[in-house]
Assembly symmetry: C2
Homo-oligomer: 194 residues x 2
Amino acid sequence: MLSIVKKLERPSRLSAIDWEIGALDMIAEQGVGAVAVESLARRLGVTKGSFYWHFATREALLKAALERWERDDEQNVLGPVEPIADPRERLRELFRRTSREIKSHVIYSALMGALEHAQVAPLMRRVGQRRMDFLTIAYRQAGMERSQAVHRARLAYSAYVGFLQLSLQLIVPRMDHAQYESYVEHTIASLIPD
Amino acid sequence: MLSIVKKLERPSRLSAIDWEIGALDMIAEQGVGAVAVESLARRLGVTKGSFYWHFATREALLKAALERWERDDEQNVLGPVEPIADPRERLRELFRRTSREIKSHVIYSALMGALEHAQVAPLMRRVGQRRMDFLTIAYRQAGMERSQAVHRARLAYSAYVGFLQLSLQLIVPRMDHAQYESYVEHTIASLIPD
DNA sequence: CGCTGTCAATACGCGCGCGTATGGAAAGTG
DNA sequence: CACTTTCCATACGCGCGCGTATTGACAGCG
């Protein structure tokens, strides 16, 4: 009975996956720099001794966590809207879904603030390239000329990155729900041709 | 004669200002985290002993350097275009000047990647507020409705922040000069009403 | 020309976070 | 119920960067 309670608090014994998820949580909340093995261990209710059984080094954990995020992110963000046939509708839906602040975007933003890490930069280049390609193709299909489509994709992606940074880091005052919705519709109207 | 040569290499004796400028250089090149007193001392050709005569602590140097940047930035970025009467022209000129990658923007981008520092966050909020106000006013004067002007200002500022991040950190492939000019004109056309 | 104030070098202590070593507990296995 | 495997705790060493203490060099001034 006591053991059952304890099991609800914490799986009593951890796997590598638990550490990876914990690392991603810390990244989302306090950035990559906050992923320290001892603090993360405290968070999970164990000590370092556990960590170094599952991972050889802190970098190995980071690697595993980032790979996990990259997989999840790909099928959380672009995946759901990819099947939409109409390019404008596909873009609108992407914008709206993105605006509903999924955790993946919070982590993305945190990672943008940690590009000095050797692990993070190439990852973000891959993700950026995929998203830029996705946007460019959609804009082309929507009738824009090649160079214009590339420019617009870059502009839209810049607006995405900048907005995340400004909002999540509270550089700019927080909007209420109605304002937020209104802003999203404004960007859709401004960045998607009609 | 030898002394003259040495004086050209380095002012032979430093002032607090030299350290502040050195700190800003390091921030621009490698981020806030790279501002370490010993490495910065090496860069200036002296040792720690010098630093702690000019500053009580590393935080004090950061504070001074950031204040210096905030002053310079204000009169480098918004200052020159503020007198332009026509709001659209004022915005266009701001966009074009901003695109000519002044050092101030490089530092701005580096600081955006260091918001976890207690010193940086409030500074960036102040700077962000000033720029958002500037943009909002210009858009209103250009004839946009209140809420639309705020939205557009936010969108433009997001695009600015995101573009800096993506370009400077090489997340997105580098453009050649012609492409770059073309992109700037595309954003001007997309974000400034006619 | 000596004295004082300014800037710098050297040596040291300290805290923090990574990684190691080693022993112990709990869960599966025959 | 032995015995092995899996997971975890404790204690320790180490490097790095901040900050301090102390002494030294050099310029300007009286």
